[in-house]
């Protein structure tokens, strides 16, 4: 598709690399962190780091809530899956994540628990309808990219009158997670981890918009560029960050204009507000 492969063009990548090389100040270092594992994946898959000047370093960030989910939550999910008469469903990448005592949901399934992988949260509805005598639990995880899907699932379960479906909610908010990383002891002084600017995730921002990042760019005086996940998106974001740093600016800029607006997806936000309540801490 044009809107995938168009953003993987090698000739354009070489040109953006030349633009970046021409604009960097050789006397300084540029340490840019990508928050999202999706960007890390693109950087390694397409060799983006090798296209950048030596003094532009990509610092790989924390990744997603699948990898960083608190172990007690995963242990609790495994315990739920082990109960008689329970079917537990979750996204595929969650099933492999190690819990305590080297357990995982996949291993629980191997031992006989009814653990199933879903691509869409809505598949839970079909499973619940087909198994009225079993308790169906959706192990809900993720940032605001998956949270509206869970909200929609809950409303649909209500509309269909399904009594045997529950959700084990482990959703987290992106701005809170980012703030927590920035406030961590050691990071705050910017001594241990030197970061000059951030590459922000695009798909979660399609839902929340670019506005939530504005406060933290102002507070931390670090530029943020929200970028898509194709190699040209990442290259262009680096170019934009280098230019901001050269000009002494610390603004929110949006490279992924094809999917992110300042306000985000209001329909999805309204759905989350209707179904979920905010709590001050995850654990």
């Amino acid at each position: 598709m044009r809107y995938i492969h168009g953003f993987r063009d090698g000739a354009a990548a070489a040109v953006i690399a030349a633009r970046i090389a021409a604009s960097v100040d050789p006397a300084r270092e540029y340490h840019l962190m990508e928050f999202c594992g999706g960007h890390t994946h693109a950087i390694f898959r397409y060799g983006v780091q090798n296209l950048l000047p030596r003094n532009v370093r990509l610092v790989h960030g924390p990744g997603c809530p699948v990898c960083v989910l608190a172990t007690p939550r995963l242990d609790a999910a495994i315990a739920l899956a082990g109960r008689a008469n329970v079917t537990l469903l979750s996204y595929g990448d969650m099933l492999r994540v190690p819990a305590s005592k080297r357990r995982s949901l996949l291993k629980a399934r191997a031992r006989g628990a009814d653990v199933r992988m879903v691509y869409s949260a809505l598949e839970t509805l079909d499973v619940a309808a087909a198994n009225p005598d079993r308790e169906i639990i959706f192990f809900a995880i993720g940032f605001e990219t998956t949270t509206p899907a869970t909200a929609h699932l809950i409303l649909e379960a209500q509309r269909l009158g399904l009594k045997n479906l529950s959700v084990y909610c482990n959703h987290v908010l992106t701005p809170a997670a980012i703030q927590s990383i920035l406030d961590a002891p050691g990071t705050r002084q910017w001594d241990n981890v030197r970061i000059d600017g951030f590459i922000g995730p695009s798909h979660v921002s399609a839902v929340i918009g670019s506005r939530p990042y504005e406060a933290f760019a102002a507070e931390h005086r670090k530029p943020v560029v929200i970028a898509g996940f194709e190699p040209l998106d990442v290259m262009q974001a680096v170019d934009m960050l280098v230019r901001q740093l050269n000009e002494g600016r610390a603004c929110i800029e949006n490279q992924f204009t094809r999917g992110v607006t300042r306000d985000g997806n209001r329909t999805a936000q309204a759905l989350m507000a209707e179904v979920f309540e905010l709590r001050p801490e995850f654990e």
């Binding site: 354009a12 949260a121 997806n265 759905l271």
Partner: protein
């Protein structure tokens, strides 16, 4: 995890669903989170849900910018790395 893909809507189905083309594969996606999707629209889909529309005008602007700077560099004869034939 939060990786979404662009799809093109090929048919509108009942109850907030659409049929969509993902690079030749046709599948069903939920359109509960987007307002009034139409056939031919591009959507960005994550875990079975369209999380937003793909703004084709903006996507074309980005691609045109890449094409323009590429043409400019080639005209100027700048040596590029990696070298491209």
């Amino acid at each position: 995890m939060c990786l979404a893909i662009p799809v093109r809507v090929t048919a509108i189905l009942e109850h907030g669903w659409a049929e969509a083309d993902i690079g030749g594969v046709v599948t069903r996606v939920s359109t509960a989170l987007v307002d009034e999707p139409a056939v031919g629209d591009y959507l960005i889909v994550h875990a079975g849900f369209a999380i937003t529309r793909l703004d084709v005008v903006e996507a074309e602007k980005s691609l045109a910018l890449f094409a323009e700077i590429t043409a400019h560099y080639h005209r100027a004869g700048v040596a590029l790395y990696p070298r491209l034939s």
